[in-house]
Point group: C2
Chain length 375, copies 2
């Protein structure tokens, strides 16, 4: 049973976000989801597609992305139909992206199909455990819930939002034995608050995975964001016609920019309409070079994490570094500890690992300098 496709399930892959904390690997024209961050032979979006098509089946996976990335996505995932790539002329955040794909899928396959949104740039390890969580989430979705998958918080991270769990769904949804209600979603906490969350045992990380019947989502959207619901309906009506481009171009840019967490998940959780199943798989959003380091194998006793050809690295008396060798040049480290060294053909970044989060500020500074050529 575990290997079967879930016939009424459609996966949506929102592929947005540059990942500026991963500059200079991640660029405006090559955001992190188009990059093979683990040196595994497939990019993050390719891995995401393979993971989801194994569950939903080919033809049951769609991608939402910026217009500038459509060609790259098409090239990386040749199996995608053009009509299943939702090209956004401007980014309108996750509510619009998920709602449009859901509305189009509802028109094609009926409002009872279950849709699930999974970001293109996350790393997931353990396909079996992932499949188990998704199957339970789909069951909760069929029962009417918007269901999220909560990631076990392995440390008091301040980089993620948290989900506070409530009562088990129990007998209400027999096919989702591990599901519980969500009491609320909370924003990225400070360190002390994150620590307090962990101690309670009631909090999990919010990875932005949402599974629900298309009809459930569209009804909630009409309730919470009626104007957006109308705009999305207009585009969805035109999507599989020759008016797609015209209506998209006219309506899309005016849509409100708001994250799905704020527009739907939070208000609905307050009404008891959101469920959570625990994610029993390894997860990471590869947010910065420090988190990338945790995903890469150590190549040597010095615990230097290398992405790239190891013949390009020469080190003496160095340890704990994260090195990305993308320019094909020799990188010689002498007495360099716990640093990030990212070598690309047109830009080099050097920073202590401890300041990985601030790479974003560096990117902002470069933008302020008008150096769009390297962003």
């Amino acid at each position: 049973m575990c290997g079967d496709k879930i016939d009424d399930f459609y996966a949506i892959i929102p592929a947005g976000g540059v990942g500026s904390r991963l500059w200079p690997i991640s660029r405006k024209d090559r955001p992190k989801f188009l990059y093979d961050f683990l040196g595994a032979g497939s990019t993050l979006i390719q891995s995401t597609y393979l993971r989801l098509s194994a569950l939903a089946g080919e033809g049951h996976v769609v991608v939402s992305t910026g217009e500038r990335h459509v060609d790259a996505v098409r090239e990386q995932i040749p199996a995608l139909d053009d009509a299943d790539i939702f090209a956004e002329p401007v980014g309108r955040d996750s509510t619009a992206a998920i709602a449009l794909a859901s509305a189009v899928l509802a028109r094609r396959h009926g409002e009872d199909v279950v849709v699930g949104s999974f970001a293109a740039d996350h790393v997931i390890r353990g396909q079996k455990a992932f499949a188990k969580s998704v199957r339970q989430a789909v069951a909760a979705a069929r029962a009417g819930y918007v269901c999220t998958i909560g990631i076990a918080a392995s440390r008091p991270s301040t980089a993620f939002g948290y989900i506070r769990q409530g009562e088990p769904l129990g007998a209400e949804v027999p096919d989702a034995p591990d599901a519980c209600k969500v009491r609320k979603f909370v924003e990225k906490p400070d360190a002390a608050t994150a620590q307090a969350y962990l101690i309670t045992g009631e909090y999990r990380w919010n990875a932005g995975m949402f599974v629900m019947r298309a009809g459930t989502l569209l009804a909630r959207l009409r309730e919470y964001k009626p104007q957006m619901a109308e705009q999305i309906a207009r585009i969805a009506d035109a999507w599989d016609t020759d008016r797609r481009a015209a209506v998209m171009g006219e309506v899309w840019p005016a849509i409100e920019k708001i994250a799905f967490d704020y527009s739907i998940a939070e208000p609905l959780a307050a009404e008891g309409g959101v469920a959570m199943v625990p994610g029993g798989f390894g997860w990471d959003d590869v947010g910065d070079f420090n988190s990338l380091a945790a995903l890469l194998p150590s190549r040597n006793e010095q615990n230097i994490k290398l992405l790239g050809d190891s013949s390009n690295l020469v080190q003496m008396d160095s340890a704990g570094d994260v090195v990305v060798a993308e320019a094909g040049r020799t990188i010689a480290l002498l007495g360099v500890n716990d640093m990030v060294v990212v070598d690309t053909p047109d830009a080099l970044l050097v920073a202590p690992r401890a300041r990985s989060q601030e790479v974003k500020d560096m990117v902002n500074k470069i933008a302020d300098m008008g150096r769009d050529d390297i962003l």
Copy 2:
């Protein structure tokens, strides 16, 4: 008088030594003397040539260098005659280099001409003070001394050999009023010894500058190194004939490899035959990136020393770094302090400034790896 050429003076520029502590700027095929280390618009050997030809006159300056560098030297100093470039098929250290040039100059112009050897890769500031020292050294040389120029030891460096001064020459050489005898030459000391030297006030740095009559040198060579004297004489006899290449190729490789300090200067100092005039000019051998830093102007409040185009450097919260931007790429430093970052098209070096001396060990490691392509 000060601006006049010294008619009987000929300058020899030994241009050897890769400068491996300056890798990856300095390479086998582009040793440091061929590089513009100060971003001043002229390479070290060009500056050396200009400094010496201003004193000795054009046509009075010769260069000894490895065969592989002859084309580059000719290109950088078009005024040099081919017969004034002593191309060495293999490096035989400074005694052979200085002796051959001196022997050829003696055959051309007589044994009374004064020759002076000045390394191609040193930085000297203060042409007037330099000229004054050289003029005094030439005067001491005419009186029969091998005369060196001692550099004021501004710190207890362990990177240089030292010269211990003795009695002033005084009335013996009226045109060298600041000259004194050399009691002895001492090797690179450890830190405590260097400190002790400084306290005495009797020690100066040995910059390897030697000025003497050609005849004096050749006589001493016959005395201390008779075999080498014979070999040098054979080559010098053939130099300005069509047998130059044949005799050089036959005799040169067999010559003993020994530094001038050991072969001539030390034993002669013990006999009282070496004099020293103080060098009142700024001097540095640009031995490593830390000493390079001292020579570069600070471009900003953070005291970051940059060699290259400043538009290639973006920094946040970084200070005290030495950055060489030679690859035309953007170098982004975030929270990086007191580091060396040297960016060249095919190799990148990152190291703390405090470990600049060990860059040599890194180069040895790369050589051991068989990576001749980047050496």
